[in-house]
């Protein structure tokens, strides 16, 4: 026997047999941590992440159903979804969704252009930054619904009101993020490109744009959520079309299924946009980081 091993097994207070059992357990737990597929073999599918997610979804539906059955005011899930189907059969479903989406596309395009230009100027030139920082902070503190009320008073029932409110309430969020991005551009690298006489266009393409795009898209994702909410608010307060107006229409008719149905639709559309467009775009802007990590390792 190896002398070292002999001393270890003779140490007082440590039973070598339980020690190995514990080791085996630890090993299994480690395998389970690293390989979820093997974990299932050990603990069964019921404790996996996927099962947890589905349990959560079913539990949410069950709680909603019970609350709907217990209280008169709360619509049940099936009443809400059958309302949505009814609305589709009446031909009133896609019209409002399309109207609101169109407004969002116009408004958010303006937000993207304005926010990126202003944010870039603020990040690059310090006099502009100091001139506008307080104004931008105040604009962020302003809630969209006050802008919505003002816009309805100013512009009445028009296409201007929703787009105006979308721009004023979403642009500051994008500005703040873009400004951070412009300030995060590596000074050493930009000095080096100046020393080696790299053209401004090349520097912008290979240094400024990759750094800023991540910040821009992170900010734009927040701006999309803010702008979407703002447009819905204007439509509720004073507009003759769109999803917000439709929800308000059913509120006036005291149809709670209708209100909640349209609320669910608003949520579905924004979550869909976030999942299908914004998150993939954001991951794309982060690709170069992963590549850089690979290059270094």
């Amino acid at each position: 026997m190896d002398p070292l091993e002999a001393t270890q097994s003779n140490l007082p207070g440590i039973d070598p047999t339980t020690e190995t059992e514990q080791d085996l357990k630890d090993f299994e737990a480690g395998v389970a941590e690293r390989h979820p597929s093997k974990r299932r073999r050990y603990l069964g599918w019921l404790t996996s992440d996927e099962a947890a997610r589905w349990t959560a979804r079913l539990a949410a539906l069950a709680i909603w159903a019970i609350a709907g059955a217990m209280f008169d005011r709360i619509p049940t899930p099936w009443a809400t979804f059958s309302f949505i189907i009814d609305e589709a059969q009446r031909g009133e479903l896609w019209g409002p969704i399309w109207v609101t989406l169109k407004r969002a596309i116009i408004g958010l395009s303006i937000v993207l252009v304005l926010g990126v230009i202003l944010g870039f100027l603020m990040g690059r030139f310090w006099p502009i930054r100091y001139l506008t920082t307080d104004l931008v902070m105040a604009a962020i503190a302003l809630p969209a619904f006050i802008w919505a009320l003002l816009a309805v008073m100013w512009f009445g029932f028009s296409e201007t009101a929703p787009i105006f409110v979308c721009v004023v309430s979403a642009t500051p969020m994008l500005i703040v993020n873009t400004r951070e991005g412009a300030a995060a551009v590596d000074h050493q690298l930009s000095k080096m490109s100046a020393a080696y006489k790299v053209s401004k266009i090349k520097e912008f393409r290979h240094l400024v744009l990759p750094t800023m795009s991540e910040y821009i898209f992170a900010g734009f994702r927040v701006a999309v959520l803010a702008g979407w909410g703002a447009i819905l608010l204007v439509e509720w307060f004073g507009n003759g079309s769109g999803m917000g107006w439709r929800a308000q229409y059913w509120y006036d008719g005291l149809n709670f299924n209708g209100m909640l149905g349209w609320g669910v639709l608003m949520l579905i559309v924004i979550v869909g946009i976030d999942r299908l467009i914004m998150q993939p775009a954001l991951n794309r802007t982060r690709r170069w980081r992963a590549r850089e990590d690979q290059a270094w390792s």
């Binding site: 506008t132 920082t133 003002l150 008073m153 307060f237």
Partner: protein, 283 residues
């Protein structure tokens, strides 16, 4: 040949020092920062003042002076204080409930992978709900009441509280945790002495980030179905078609948000974080 006299008279020394001070003062960023930020605010006010009356009629865009006068009147009435307090009270109720429910959820999420996966979807969905939908939920369930705003503030704040608690639990010192395991401390004692101190700064961060949002939501819900508070006052001014009133309330709103952030939350955060890195200046 006489040597030139290089001694400095006391008067010249003072003059040089003042000169030096003035030069440094004008070169400092801090001065420019203050000057430019004031200049920005004044330029904005001047533009606004020019626009009202010259570009748009006064009843559409009242001048800043009109708005300030209106604000003065509202302060003298006492309307501001009662409305401010009504909205703040509802927000605080929502926050209290969010802490009571969110902290245990966050502790579970930080500790167990199953809980993390279980609450993942809820947290994601609740963070993406447009504010109008929250207001609609409040209207559907509670109608015109004071419970509605508090309830939706709870829904809005809950994800932030849960996520930050979970992050705090994960940041807890592994060494301390394994030491308490080997000394057979009870889970309660571990939670109290190791986990809670790790979680507190994260909770404070959650509070600072989502306070402004929750305050906005409370006011919005009051606009829809409330009988008191800033949102209610705004809705009244909307129905009376009074832009002056709406603008006055808008400025009160900004002032409140900034005051609460600067006077309450920032110093509290500084105090709680101060033990961590005493030398480092906090942003």
């Amino acid at each position: 040949m006489s040597t030139p006299d290089y001694t400095i008279t006391p008067g010249a020394a003072v003059r040089l020092r003042v000169q030096d001070y003035v030069v440094r003062f004008f070169k400092s960023r801090r001065l420019w920062r203050t000057v430019l930020s004031l200049a920005g605010a004044f330029a904005f006010l001047a533009l606004w003042d020019y626009a009202s009356g010259n570009i748009w009629a006064v009843y559409i865009l009242p001048s800043p002076i009109d708005v300030v006068n209106q604000m003065k009147q509202l302060v003298e009435d006492g309307t501001v204080w009662s409305a401010f307090w009504a909205t703040l009270r509802k927000t605080l109720y929502g926050w209290g409930a969010a802490f009571v429910i969110g902290v245990p959820i966050g502790l579970l999420m930080g500790r167990y992978r199953y809980a993390n996966a279980f609450f993942q979807d809820f947290v994601y969905i609740l963070a993406n709900v447009p504010l109008l939908v929250y207001a609609v939920i409040s209207l559907v369930i509670f109608g015109v009441s004071d419970t509605g705003p508090a309830f939706v503030v709870l829904l809005l704040v809950l994800p932030a509280v849960a996520i930050n608690t979970a992050a705090g639990v994960k940041s807890a010192d592994e060494g301390l945790l394994s030491m308490s395991r080997s000394f057979n401390r009870t889970p309660l004692a571990v939670t109290k002495n190791v986990i809670f101190p790790a979680v507190t700064p994260f909770l404070l961060a959650a509070g600072r980030v989502s306070f402004a949002d929750s305050w906005k939501l409370a006011a919005l819900t009051e606009t829809f179905g409330g009988s008191s508070g800033i949102g209610f006052e705004l809705n009244t001014s909307f129905e009376l078609y009074s832009v002056v009133d709406a603008l006055a309330w808008m400025f009160f709103f900004v002032i409140f948000v900034i005051l609460i952030e600067r006077i309450l939350l920032l110093p509290a955060e500084r105090r709680i974080f101060s033990w961590r890195n005493p030398g480092e200046k906090l942003v």
